[in-house]
Assembly symmetry: C2
Homo-oligomer: 230 residues x 2
Amino acid sequence: MLSAKMEDYLKAIYRLERDGDPPIAPSTIAEMLDVTAPTVTSMVEKLADRGLIEREKYKGVRTTPEGETVALEIIRHHRLLETFLTEQLGYDWAEVHEEAEVLEHHISEEFERRVAAVLDEPEFDPHGDPIPSDSLDPIDDESATALSEHNEGGQVEVARVRDRDPDELTYLSDAGITPGTVLTVEEVAPIGMVTVQLESGSSVSLPDHIADAIQVRAPDTQSEDGVSQA
Amino acid sequence: MLSAKMEDYLKAIYRLERDGDPPIAPSTIAEMLDVTAPTVTSMVEKLADRGLIEREKYKGVRTTPEGETVALEIIRHHRLLETFLTEQLGYDWAEVHEEAEVLEHHISEEFERRVAAVLDEPEFDPHGDPIPSDSLDPIDDESATALSEHNEGGQVEVARVRDRDPDELTYLSDAGITPGTVLTVEEVAPIGMVTVQLESGSSVSLPDHIADAIQVRAPDTQSEDGVSQA
DNA sequence: ACACCAAATTAGACAAGTCTAACCCAAAAG
DNA sequence: CTTTTGGGTTAGACTTGTCTAATTTGGTGT
């Protein structure tokens, strides 16, 4: 069995690989997990011994297929839990991340199966992140673009919100912005701010770091129901 | 914050106090938690330093009021989780103990509150064990008697089943014996076995160690609904 | 080519939780 | 009142995950 810590490292490495390119430098991992460089060195040695990552000394690491499967398993746990907490226990999307971050390491496969069944095998979590399937096939993350890259006048639909700050998430949902929301880009101010208009007509201004975190796609011209994310 | 291990020791000590009398000997704790005696010595030192137990060297330990509160908190988590797993996720009562044993250490107060709310503040778990209230007042466990102490012909209602063996629990529920079931003691055989008759008319024979674990009380002459446990 | 520097690794320490082996109490037996 | 003996404690070691301080490496700049 893997420890919760090993799972955390693996998840971090996997996530970093999805953004930047492998190999992932120890310093990057250290920053993400808020530990020191020597701690990373000793941990990646252990993960490499277990065959979960490949390691080149003084270069960095990359996940092996087995390591990727473990990472996907944890991510599946995390996103199923986030979905479960919001849908069944009435959590707000701002609160679910922290709770799921802990529980993801402690639920059984049985729990995972039953939660997935109760939720009817969901494909996206409350932030719009895709939930890895039961078979743990790699997911492709990159179909949407950042809101901040769009020009004035364009109409877009919110696909994912890659922000986990509770205050910012609460602000967004209070403003009416969640996955599925259709927005029109009203103004891109040169001072690091984007203003969008909701379908209700109300306008919301967002600082760049939040506009960067909101991933959007062409509006779904079809339906308004919740199955539109596929 | 207390570690999961410290919580386990505290829970074990509290449980042992409820059965036998304090002070609780280190060897008893060691057996319950399946660790060696020196391990218990070092752990009880830590718990005593924290003010959660009183310790007399070479004698044993007893919980302080603060320790009792912590134990009750964990027991509340455990029993709420067991109830939640059966009622909301469709677990069988035979499976819930192990899952709850892990998760009880990792859920937040928020999670506890929301689960209790969704379940409508339940007072008993699927095995008939009382769930400590939100205020963590000590509970009195001892209103029921063991089935094994009853004489032939007596009619009783199952109050609690103090068994956690999955096979035995599955056997009992398959036989139709769960908290609330009304039984008539048919035969107390001198070979370590008790035979009971269900209201359906079917008979079930149980070895003493299981009859000991089934706690019963006078049948509820009133209703048949689920609120009858108070 | 050579020195420099940032980043990585090694070395050594520490806390938590566990073990085995050795020693010590304290209560019961004589 | 002494001895026996079983359970408890002390001593010392190991693992996991972390740290700080010292050292090494490999690419960069001149």
